[in-house]
Subunit: 348 residues, 2 copies
DNA sequence: AATCTCCGTGGGAAGGTTCCCACAAGCAAG
DNA sequence: CTTGCTTGTGGGAACCTTCCCACGGAGATT
């Protein structure tokens, strides 16, 4: 390999191998109609010179960049990092690459990044929309796939999310199995649609189960450890529940702290079930039993859907991926740690 | 805004505003030598038509893509996610974007991604090298900045990492302040250079402090919670140490479990100090007191250094960023939680 | 023997921008 | 009045590839 490989063009390779630039281009892009002879000569010249095809020029002419955008709230958040990882894995398999932007839950940033994204001519984008009236989004020329709970505000766009209802059901089934009865609920921000879905699913399942759902205990709090701890303290004041189901892991972890501070034991006195699958839930003591959202899979599927849409597929579906139950130590054990998976749902 | 904005070119804008494409280009790139009149007309035409400059063509001609690569082991790992976030923040400020690749600690993937990276004509790249004989790396045409502990194997390339020695010192100073004496050490994978540096720093500081460093207790284990728990169990068999300093947070957390399981209290019986700053260390009970690596800053600085190098700066330095002490509950308190910062070092 | 089809190949245009150079007009200095 | 400099402008080349079309030769078909 020579040093100035960076400045070589297919024309140089054409000269070196004694064919035309067209033929070089054909060899490089793996076209069929090239003689063995020519292919060999070109390949040799490429190897010998260390030539790298200029993707920029290629993209300009072909209109394909091989890049997709990923617009998420925050890559430093474990959930979104997992989503990103899934998308990247799928992208790598298709020789594509992923351009990641953080919206920080800020509509203005979302807008700006969306612009940057279209401007850099990505082939498509996966976005978790934070804005309600996402005009920029719907007007956008780029093929889009939505992820996250807010996706369903845009029924016209394909999306992939986690099946909250199925997850809740999975957890509740586990509770009846352990004969713990109806759980008290710890829920976060009342404005999020996620809250409504969570509570709704519990009510529905409970009613079918014959639970006294009108007496369902429900404690609001901020979506953090402290929020969970405070909410749990308030809950405890109204009597010690046998089991608590938190709408997210951070609150569940906070609840665990509160239980400990009240001189109670988990899972003996109070059992706790979380919802999310944050890595942090692994390290608590006891480890938090929780419903895990299929974060990595969400990223992977989103890329696959996007890939189909880019390829011209007109009716790319909405997907709802199943959550799984990961058993650790905050529920009375049946037979030790294990994972129970649900089944997927696909709707068009 | 019209709908077919995607297919507009500066030539259309030129026609619309009655100037030449050169003038449009000048206005768009903010050149000085344009009359107010022309600037206004072009701006208006751009607004009215919803024109977006094609970054691809721009890049092809100018040789600048406004993109940098980031090659890290795993974006789903909290440390690297923080690094990525820092790099992205800095990039966003300079209107650049970041292309992230995961090497999974695999030299072969690293090589492939490095190729993809140069091929897509990024302006430069930040990489955490996993391979020892990184020939692909040094031969690379792209401006490079290295991050992580393995960076110093390439003294000819600029790099940024965390100042382990300073971090260890910060922790040990805290221990002498609390009068806890010389800690027992929990260390991970013996093959990593990081281990040597960690132990070395403790020995050095201890000697200066007059500690009996020849009697330093040192327990090896795997770099995980389980590894930490096992190592701590073994350590406890040889007698209960007053304080344990783990080379990473996962092991520290495992140690905390082991202490609990032995019927001991932390920090009363055994004090524990971690090293990393993993988010998971926040949620243990008690919260883990630890030395935090400046992960986000590493990403940010790395981008800044890279930016300088791209701009043509010949002697971009090596940087070693200071760790900080974050007080939670596993050391006997002085006066409640707080953060102690160190000072930065920069070497050329 | 003449025509048709297929295959491998080459040349030129196109993709949308920036960069370089030339040019005209205005003004100051000789 | 000429010369020189500055300022704003325009046209064309260049960046490097892919795509389209045309062409010649070989083999098959009429």
């Amino acid at each position: 390999m020579t040093d100035n490989a960076a400045s070589l063009t297919i024309i140089d390779i054409a000269r070196l191998s004694g064919v035309s630039k067209s033929t070089v281009s054909r060899v490089l892009s793996g076209a069929e109609n090239v003689s063995e002879e020519a292919r060999r000569k070109v390949t040799e010249a490429v190897e010998a010179s260390g030539f790298r095809r200029n993707e920029l020029a290629r993209s300009l002419r072909s209109g394909r960049t091989g890049m997709v955008g990923l617009l998420i709230p925050d890559i430093a958040n474990p959930f979104w990092a997992e989503v990103a990882r899934g998308a990247q894995d799928a992208a790598t398999e298709e020789m594509a690459s992923v351009l990641i932007f953080n919206s920080d839950w800020d509509p203005e940033r979302e807008r700006r990044h969306l612009m940057a994204l279209t401007q850099s001519r990505v082939d498509g984008a996966i976005v978790n929309p934070v804005q309600n009236g996402l005009d920029e989004l719907s007007r956008s020329q780029v093929p889009l796939v939505l992820i996250g709970s807010s996706a369903e505000r845009f029924p016209e766009l394909p999306s992939v999310g986690s099946d909250i209802t199925q997850g809740v059901q999975l957890g509740l089934e586990r509770l009846v199995q352990a004969d713990l009865g109806m759980p008290a609920l710890l829920v976060g921000d009342p404005h999020r649609t996620a809250r409504e879905r969570f509570v709704g699913a519990v009510r529905e399942f409970g009613a079918a189960q014959g639970w006294p759902v009108e007496g369902l205990r429900l404690q609001d709090g901020h979506y953090t450890i402290e929020g969970g701890r405070d909410a749990m303290k308030r809950l405890l004041q109204g009597g010690v529940p046998r089991v608590v189901f938190a709408a997210n892991d951070m609150m569940a972890l906070g609840a665990l702290h509160a239980v400990r501070e009240a001189g109670l034991n988990c899972p003996e006195d109070v059992a706790i079930l979380g919802f999310d699958g944050t890595p942090a839930a692994e390290v608590s003591m006891p480890g938090l039993t929780t419903i895990m959202k299929p974060s990595r899979d969400i990223g992977r599927r989103a890329f696959e859907l996007l890939s189909r849409k880019i390829a011209g597929d007109e009716d790319v579906p909405h997907m709802s991926l199943p959550c799984s139950l990961v058993e650790r130590g905050t529920l009375p054990t049946r037979e030790g740690p294990r994972v129970v998976r649900g089944e997927g749902r696909t709707a068009t």
